[in-house]
Symmetry: C2
Subunit: 244 residues, 2 copies
């Protein structure tokens, strides 16, 4: 079973303070880029893998999705998600993505935001998602970028001249990474970009778009703290479909 | 026109000493991985973009390719290539890949080894290649990895404990890079991995395989100097096809 770090009280308290928790989708700088990869929502049957507070589930319904299934490991987050809506077309359910079983051909869109790097057996999950999509259905997800995940010491190095570099190493060494982010010992799984994309292709997905998210000049101007995100990509956004 | 660094006498002399120049394909550690992406050669019409000494062209013919067109900017390298074979089915021609025009539907396989990072207008070249392939035809190429290309100071950093890291920065800043490798001021063009793959997809290629080459444990044991190549990927190998 996946580590349930979101139910760690310290982690949960810290996570609750993040802009993406407080402000929802608009608090996530990568949201406009991820949104650009989404099809029109009208009439779609949607599943959100790692739905957290359910911000995306509610947005999808506002945009006209027919039904939305929001899955998360954390009952604490699901409770908060359920408290924000009485919409009967949104179903929030507890699920471990490591063990997930989905009905075949039941969804038009599978979405996931920053959850897949917590999954050890990601190919298994991707096979489930592929089978759960109708032919022509889409998978749109974000994941921590392998460049961000790989290093033994994932933190900026500032040199004598104040130049900021990201100390990449261990890129080819895939597997478990333990980092201290909001709580000690958060477990993630590093995979190279090649491994991730070849898994998708091997399962039968066709790649449609890949974005190594970084802020535009205008976004850095509006939010100068984002400037460092131009030095190395922190997130990877992927759009793929199950061929019709 | 592309910089013709291979006709710089110092560069050429240095390049001539590299294992991949002296020993051919077997002198390139990534060759087994690149070869694994190639279709059976028998009967194929092949074009090699940046053929250098022509090692791949001759190998393709040995494997049964029907015809091979080897293109390179450097007359000096083409002279050497022509001197090694009298095979009338191999045609070595001088060409600037920035300006290349290829006959439509004339090839079953386009191959390129470590040449595309020298090309400023790579989308133009990829469109030419796509049109020059028959439906079902393949493009297999290697290119310097964006992680290798991006940094302002592309060289290992060794810390007090002897740990080796690659100082990544400027990843989102695409464009010209000037490096000193065999000669001063070798010009290359950095593109993010997303930009490269989206260009391929946008032109109509379907991605089949992507490998961020690194040596296996056995390869490191046989050639310990390769160990650092496990810390960050230096090369990217891509296989794509024009859908039938």
């Amino acid at each position: 079973m996946a580590q349930n770090i979101y139910d760690d009280p310290g982690f949960f308290a810290g996570y609750a303070q993040l802009p993406r928790s407080r402000q929802g989708l608009d608090g996530a700088p990568e949201w406009p880029a991820l949104r650009a990869q989404l099809p029109p929502m009208v009439g779609l049957r949607v599943v959100d893998l790692g739905c957290g507070y359910g911000w995306f589930c509610r947005w999808a319904r506002e945009q006209g999705a027919a039904t939305v299934l929001g899955l998360d490991l954390s009952e604490r987050m699901l409770d908060q998600a359920r408290n924000t809506t009485g919409d009967p077309a949104i179903d929030y359910r507890q699920a471990d993505l490591e063990q997930l079983e989905l009905p075949p051909g039941a969804f038009d869109l599978a979405y996931s935001s920053l959850a897949f790097h917590y999954i050890e057996n990601l190919p298994r999950l991707l096979r489930q998602v592929h089978a759960a999509l109708v032919p022509g259905g889409r998978l749109v997800f974000s994941i921590e970028h392998p460049i961000f995940m790989a290093p033994s010491n994932p933190g900026w190095v500032i040199d004598d001249q104040g130049r900021r570099t990201w100390p990449l190493d261990a890129y080819q060494t895939e597997g478990r990474r333990s980092t201290d982010w909001l709580a000690d010992g958060v477990i993630k799984y590093h995979r190279t970009l090649g491994t991730l994309l070849n898994a998708l292709i091997g399962i039968g997905f066709q790649l449609a778009h890949l974005e190594e998210w970084g802020p535009s000049d205008a976004e850095v101007e509006a939010q100068p703290a984002l400037a460092e995100e131009r030095e190395r990509p922190m997130m990877l956004l992927v759009s793929a479909h199950r061929p019709a």
